[in-house]
Symmetry: C2
Subunit: 208 residues, 2 copies
DNA sequence: TCTGTATCGGACCGTTAGGTCCAATAGAGA
DNA sequence: TCTCTATTGGACCTAACGGTCCGATACAGA
């Protein structure tokens, strides 16, 4: 839905959208934007990094802001798609909660640059592009809210309100700053421990 | 420690550092940087907003990056100072934990612009200024780590490790994006509910 | 009233930004 | 070999940037 769905054995020609060059540009831009910031990265610099002159670069992209937009939404869209499918499944509340968490940590860990750009720079977008990102963000938040709601309705959770959603989101989202794909724990293991904390707390002797 | 300690009944002259004008510049810059981003905000724009020409502006500030630096560290420094004092107090672990949380939510709620700038733009700093911010950030993280460590040593917490620290930090830090000083809940009430979640979890029937 | 300092506005400087244009090239199909 | 299209590099455009300079002004102390 979001971008080129992927396979479609492309011919040697690069006329179709989603060419190798375009992908290289997107990845390189994500890297530069994440490391230096969107505004601090020039298009000449991007061209150099990708091995293209400015004219050639513009043959593949429409403009700088569109680049930011595409980088920003890609994996949030992926999460929203995942979440909507998850919510239409017959799984129980806790299982939904845990699967959402695992998926999110995995996608963040695998695409740190893109998430960094999304979290830090997406507000630089304007007009319709900005609106779309904002809408996607709130759809994603709503998915979590629905899960927590379900849990509260089922008498399984207390704290099924907005504040709990913010807690969950904060805990997960912040991970783009520290998660290490090569670390001791896999993203899924980290998610499991986060879910343990969120569901049961860190105290050994709950007094309620 | 960080900036002008405050009172010192200043004369009508503005020769002393920390003048009203300088403060106005800092607040206005925080607002603009938070709304538009550091790189996207020009010094002419800042001058206009504060009612000063560019020459006059530079009579009060040293340069743009120093402005970003001062905005970024102010309240993190405040938190570190608070935390160090807290840790030298005779309070119990849970009370330390809760007081730290309350203070953090309060300081974030009262200075949203500055925290936004700190979280989103501090990486634009370079050289020594960047190092100082990074150091401050890790000192703050260490404060939380010490509290959780204590709790684990005392047998009060499980999850007393780095991952728990990240969970706590993420939950709190993310609030700069949504906290509303005029909202129904005070920052302290929000902190209390966050602590409840972190300590006891959101599940009604903990099965452990 | 005179003097010296703090404060100010804005012209100015060199640099770089995003974006356009176009002539040159490469390479596949006929 | 010729042709046509996709791709390329880089000169070029206008606008804006951070920062400096300096003459004008405001004003306190004497």
């Amino acid at each position: 839905m979001s971008t080129d769905p992927a396979p479609a054995p492309r011919s040697h020609s690069r006329t179709r959208k989603g060419s190798r060059t375009k992908q290289r540009i997107l990845r390189t831009a994500a890297d530069l934007f994440a490391r230096q910031g969107y505004h601090a990265t020039g298009l000449s610099e991007l061209g150099d990094a990708v091995g293209l002159g400015r004219g050639a670069l513009y043959h593949h992209i429409t403009n700088k802001e569109q680049l930011l937009y595409e980088i920003s939404i890609e994996h949030v869209q992926e999460m929203v798609d995942f979440g909507e499918e998850l919510l239409s499944s017959p799984l129980g509340v806790e299982e939904r909660f845990r699967r959402m968490s695992r998926k999110l940590m995995r996608v963040i860990a695998d695409n740190r640059d893109e998430w960094t750009v999304y979290f830090r720079e997406a507000d630089s977008l304007s007009g319709e592009r900005r609106e779309r990102v904002v809408e996607l963000r709130s759809r994603f938040e709503d998915l979590w809210r629905q899960i927590l709601d379900e849990g509260e309705t089922a008498g399984l959770f207390h704290h099924g309100d907005s504040l709990a959603v913010k807690a969950v989101l904060g805990m997960h989202n912040y991970s783009y700053l520290w998660i290490d794909p090569e670390g001791d724990l896999s993203p899924e293991e980290i998610a499991d421990r986060f879910c343990d904390i969120l569901l049961h707390g860190i105290m050994t002797a709950p007094q309620r």
